[in-house]
Subunit: 431 residues, 2 copies
């Protein structure tokens, strides 16, 4: 029985590792060719080269075209529903047949074995955006897209436990036969099917094999690059992951990456029914036919807390940008006599205990100048609050902007609705 | 010089009027035919009857069809840009030629003179949704659409000053010649233009006259009915007015009625460029060619306050529906010894001074059961806050739900970010 690798991890593992672990020098124009990881470089250049060569030399038949698209989805789902949501995140349980299907399909995407892939991916989640993240978006779009594979990693990815995968029979089987599986599923099967069924061997090899694989590659790579760059952060903005429908379209539904990083063990990436997440639909379909079970979801209460926080963050920016009424504590207390005396010089109106200077508003008043003039030096509370006209909340807010003083012994200055302009009754506060 | 009618209005006019003014009995199945207002009944039944008769007897030519649509917009704008935004609300200044054009066009909509119409409309704004509102939406959709015209009003509309209109030469001219103007603009002109230009006298009369008028009628009536029923309240929800694009499409842009009731002297009804408000576009065009000036807008700062308040109201409902961590004041203070003793019986973990019971979470923990078990009876603050894994804000929120006690003399329980779950740092508070 393998033990979890992090069972004896110290309390300060992250800080300690960052401080003491050696790092390779950064990739530069003068050293890059010495730092290449040749296996990945070859796999990621020969495949598209074959695809381009094939496109110029081999006619595309509609059968092979359709089959290539179909096989793109099959092998893509091997990664998204298999490698990613099942094995890396344990977001549901899959029966043996489904596991073998996903392991085979995922092999056809030629992205390393489940075990290797999940180990890196768990580190990506555990140390997102840090030096211990194998494909940190902080190192730039191209680094997170392919750079991290083309070059030798500058550091070992941070510790991540995959002992559960080491115990899994299907994962072990795939890891063991991996080289044969990529040859068979990546090129063999997509060549043989069009070859035997409609005689298009070369078309199968170039289109369903090489071209399809190029697309699957960059499609899944987009989850590490595009999904950390494009879109909104509706659930949390602590890290780079973002939600965008374009990324979702390109990645078979993995584009709601802000949600995914916040709730990684949720089998869904998109939570709304109308959002594009075919990987989720596939997992649901597997559940319906009995191949999958225990689909995990994060409690809705906590999901909505995240959304609420983000909305409040945004509204708080608005709140801080707006100009608000002067604070009651900053206004002078004015005696009745002084109010009378001042009113002879400028148009002061008393409403709800506050003295307002309406000089700039006399000719703007939609109810007419005459109604304001009438109340200079007087208390217009009743008239303003509905006796003559039940002013809109907007009018109340505007009124508060004209406050210049508080009448001594006047209207009780409590936390009363009349003293607080409507727009200031609900406020976003920070604790 | 006419004086404003409300210059000597008492402080408690509204309450006093509602209490003392006599009201006619409600319309019922037994009295309705005695309460009909025959002029309106005839105008609003004969016009559509003519339109229907015409549709069955007269072929519609494309020229007359196009002209009818065009004339629908002309006479509709007479009401929306003229009667409504210019005269009832004084939301901009119009040169004499524009005023005559709008007065003529508005006459073609056959909805009463500018003076009569504005007096009622100002009362509608001043006493929205109350007994003093001539077309109060509180009395039902059909009452606000046509009922208020078909039957004798149950009460006099509340006082509203139109002395500015009594001083206006164009308004006075239109009021004086009103009967001739509706005949000429409502039926004469739309019959004569198609008649003289392409020989379609009857088509002009039925389509550009009667049918077009029926549409203009119900189009503008929709501002009183549909616009008080359908849609959202993004600026204020004190009264019935609502914003909806469908109402806007039907009413030449008057469908952003929630905005309009909140900011009635704003020449715009829609504030976003992509919203459908051709009346606003028309007024802007008139400004460009020098026919209109002094287009009034409500200060953006105050508009945004209204929007903010409404958004906070909605988010506060979410905030209240969600389940939050137990209040620190409700948690027991637990000594270190008691924490140790209890930890032997159930899985208690100390983080940031709070004791958490993670029994229900042990097997759910995405980082694995082993990492939690390791910390039973111990302080996991450093590990949880990034030493081992820098948990997501969602994880922090979830953690707070497991709080069962506070360690005595433990972590300083201040208003510190570690003690307050991320989702509770920003809160909507009511003053
Ligand atoms: C400085 C104090 C005042 C401010 C800032 C103010 C503001 C406003 C505003 C913004 C409106 C437009 C409609 C609305 O938003 O509800 C309005 C309309 C009106 N105001 Fe005032 N007002 C003030 C004082 C008064 C007073 C003291 C009276 C009465 C004695 C009064 C009577 C009216 C009336 C009758 C209207 C309705 C106009 C109409 O819709 O035809 N206002 N006021
Ligand atoms: C009751 C206390 C705990 C709760 C509620 C909790 C919650 C969670 C949650 C929700 C995740 C998923 C990822 C995320 O949302 O950030 C997670 C992951 C993780 N937790 Fe905890 N955790 C707790 C205690 C701990 C402790 C004490 C440790 C370390 C000693 C730890 C280590 C980890 C690790 C390493 C992961 C990453 C798993 C991965 O992405 O592969 N957790 N935890
Ligand atoms: Fe990611
Ligand atoms: Fe992931
Ligand atoms: Fe209205
Ligand atoms: Fe209006």
């Amino acid at each position: 029985e393998p033990e979890p690798i992090d069972i004896n991890i110290p309390d300060n593992y992250v800080q300690h590792t960052l401080k003491t672990q050696k790092e390779l020098p950064p990739i530069t124009w003068s050293n890059w060719y010495r730092e290449l990881q040749w296996i990945s470089v070859l796999a990621l250049t020969i495949t598209p080269a074959l695809a381009i060569y094939g496109a110029f030399t081999t006619k595309l038949t509609w059968q092979t075209g359709l089959f290539s698209v179909f096989y793109y989805y099959v092998t893509g789902l091997g990664i998204t529903a298999g490698y990613h949501r099942l094995w890396a995140h344990r977001s549901y349980n899959a029966s043996k047949p489904l596991q073998y299907f996903l392991a085979l399909a995922g092999s056809g995407a030629v992205e390393g074995s489940i075990k290797w892939w999940s180990r890196g991916h768990r580190a990506h989640h555990r140390y997102t955006d840090t030096e211990l993240d194998p494909y940190s978006a902080q190192k730039g779009f191209w680094w997170s897209h392919v750079g991290w594979m083309l070059f030798k990693p500058r550091r070992k990815p941070g510790v991540a436990d995959v002992s559960d995968l080491s115990r899994n029979e299907v994962v072990r089987w795939q890891h063991r036969w991996y080289v044969w599986l990529i040859l068979g599923m990546g090129f063999g099967l997509p060549t043989v099917v069009p070859g035997l069924l409609w005689g298009d061997w070369w078309g199968g090899f170039f289109y369903a094999g090489a071209l399809r694989l190029t697309f699957v590659h960059h499609s899944t790579f987009c989850v590490n690059s595009l999904a950390h760059w494009l879109g909104e952060t509706p659930f949390d903005d602590k890290h780079t992951p973002r939600d965008h429908v374009i990324t979702a379209l390109v990645t078979i539904g993995e584009g709601y990456h802000n949600f995914h990083h916040q709730f990684p063990m949720d089998y869904r990436n998109a939570i709304k029914w109308y959002q594009y997440d075919p990987t989720k639909w596939f997992i649901m379909a597997c559940q319906w036919v009995g191949l999958a079970s225990h689909l995990k979801t994060f409690p809705d209460n906590e999901v909505r807390k995240g959304q609420l926080t983000m909305q409040l963050k945004r509204l708080r920016e608005t709140q801080e940008k707006l100009t608000w009424a002067p604070d009651s504590n900053d206004l002078p207390i004015v005696s009745w006599d002084s109010f009378q005396e001042q009113s002879a010089k400028r148009p002061l109106i008393l409403i709800a205990g506050f003295i307002h200077d309406v000089a700039s508003f006399l000719d703007e008043h939609p109810g007419g100048r005459h109604l304001l003039v009438k109340y200079i030096g007087k208390d217009a509370t009743t008239a303003f609050f509905g006796g003559v006209y039940d002013h809109s909340n907007a009018a109340h807010n505007l009124l508060s902007m004209h406050r210049v003083g508080i009448l001594q012994h006047g209207y009780r200055q409590s936390l009363d609705d009349k003293a607080i302009p409507p727009a200031q009754r609900l406020r976003i506060a920070r604790y």
